[in-house]
């Protein structure tokens, strides 16, 4: 038996197929992964993400600490509640984790990190925080739900007080606020509008049923994976890890290397990689022949070299197979993928594949 979130019994009662996900017993779907996927693209779905880790950082020098810890630049966070997506790197420029940091006040920032990396993240953050006198507190007495889809905000906000509802509906993208004792962020991992809600453990379980009554469909990790892949969002441990840099993971946009001397961990290694030329890149693939792209399939780029699919699936929105692949930097707009010994043709594209209910690429 793995670790369980407060909603475990709720999932089982709802008929979920439970799988092991990084040591957690989590729902993969409640009947049809495809229908759950479409519910999020077209209406509203919710995911139990209580396995994710909320870490609060407090201290007078917390901003300076994060400026050192993260490859993205927290000086971009100017308004309380604003969120920033970033990689946390090791000295070699490898990705320890990707995470979201929320600016609450000058002495208080909140982070949400991946479940599978919880222990190494906390150890790393605590080790780095010492020099800055920053207190690191894991919030373990919380539950977390992601409600996603074009109608998700409206439906979820119906549970709030009239005042709370107004604040929630007024949140700008990638911003958060404390509302009615909930931490409500207009963020997500699906390419649709929505909220991620962190709430106290006490009283968290009935919220699930109230969201269902509000017309939000329970969705499992299966749909979460196809939605994030369509949306062009990386999965830690699959699309990047400690052996790959953000520059070869499609995440250069999250790295700030301005000429201001900001000394973040991994900067020297990234600079060296830039100077030498980044050898590989993470691209999107659309399979032109029949089949399904899957992680670890071999990619062949004629005249250039080889690469590997990092994540692959069938895209319910595009009705085609899509993937991320790490390939040589000189890769052009076509390649082939070795699927069970046959080389099938794929088109190289710039993710995202689909967001906001629509395809983002022509196939």
């Amino acid at each position: 038996m793995g670790q369980r979130t407060p909603y475990y019994d709720t999932h089982v009662e709802a008929g979920a197929r439970i799988v092991d996900f990084g040591g957690w017993d989590m729902p993969v779907h409640y009947g049809s992964q495809m229908e759950e996927h479409h519910a999020v693209r077209r209406d509203a779905g919710m995911f139990d993400v209580s396995h994710m880790t909320v870490v609060d950082l407090e201290g007078d020098r917390v901003r300076a600490f994060l400026s050192h810890l993260l490859a993205n630049d927290v000086s971009r966070l100017k308004v309380p509640g604003k969120a920033l997506y970033s990689c946390m790197l090791n000295e070699q420029g490898g990705v320890i984790d990707d995470l979201i940091t929320y600016y609450m006040s000058e002495t208080f920032f909140r982070m949400v990190v991946n479940a599978s990396t919880r222990e190494k993240d906390l150890a790393w953050i605590r080790a780095q925080a010492k020099a800055f006198d920053v207190t690191v507190t894991e919030q373990s007495e919380t539950a977390m739900l992601a409600v996603q889809g074009p109608n998700a905000r409206e439906k979820a906000a119906s549970l709030l007080s009239p005042e709370g509802r107004e604040i929630a509906m007024g949140l700008k993208p990638f911003c958060a606020a404390i509302i009615d004792n909930w931490f409500v962020a207009r963020t997500g991992y699906t390419g649709e509008d929505g909220f991620e809600v962190v709430m106290p453990l006490e009283g968290a379980v009935p919220v699930w049923d109230r969201f269902v009554q509000a017309g939000i469909r329970p969705c499992g990790l299966g749909a979460r994976d196809t939605l994030r892949l369509e949306a062009g969002m990386n999965l830690y441990g699959t699309d990047m890890d400690e052996t790959t840099t953000p520059l070869e993971s499609g995440l250069a946009w999250t790295v700030v290397m301005k000429d201001d001397g900001r000394d973040f961990i991994g900067r020297a290694a990234l600079q060296a990689q830039l100077d030498a030329g980044v050898p590989r890149k993470l691209v999107g693939l659309v399979l032109l022949d029949r089949g399904v792209l899957r992680g670890h399939q071999r990619v062949v780029v004629e005249g250039v070299g080889e690469g590997e699919v990092t994540s692959g699936t069938f895209s319910p929105t595009l009705s085609a197979s899509i993937a991320f692949a790490r390939v040589p930097a000189a890769t052009g707009d076509t390649c082939q993928v070795d699927i069970r010994g046959r080389l099938l043709n794929a088109k190289v594209v710039q993710p995202p594949f689909a967001r906001n209910g629509k395809a983002c690429i022509d196939i």
């Binding site: 992964q33 495809m34 996927h37 299966g222 399904v292 699936t313 069938f314 069970r340």
Partner: protein, 130 residues
């Protein structure tokens, strides 16, 4: 409860086998298997004319989440494949024992049929696995 028609034979790998009047065998995956796989999005069919030994991985059924092999329950030659699955793999989900059939083969070794399970035996296997 899974649908397990009484007139078919079954393999431990969750294939069903129908012995046709002309002596050939039609093969598909069971209702239990399609439910476990989830929404199918692709079926890789064997080639007509290819020779299969019992236990050979001869087709692949892929759902959104994963790929699974189909193992030939018998020894023989592939005589037909269900081309309709190329455009409509979901037929395996909606009609596993009918429109969702996968391939047809000759039966080269009659004795192998006796090794297959009856509906009752297959149902017992499913109960043991639950």
């Amino acid at each position: 409860m899974s649908n397990v028609p009484g007139d078919l034979k079954y393999s431990k790998d969750h294939e069903w086998i129908r012995i046709e009047e002309d002596g050939t065998c039609t093969v598909g995956v069971t209702d239990h298997a399609q439910a476990a796989l989830g929404d199918l999005v692709f079926v890789e069919l064997p080639e007509v004319g290819s020779t299969l030994a019992e236990g050979d991985a001869c087709a692949v059924v892929e759902s959104v989440k994963a790929a699974s092999d189909v193992y030939s329950p018998l020894t023989g030659e592939v005589t037909a494949v269900n081309e309709a699955l190329a455009d409509a793999p979901e037929l395996v989900n909606t009609d596993a024992y009918g429109e969702g059939w996968i391939y047809r083969m000759s039966l080269d070794s009659e004795g192998e049929v006796e090794e297959l399970m009856s509906a009752e035996e297959y149902l017992a296997l499913l109960e043991d696995q639950d």
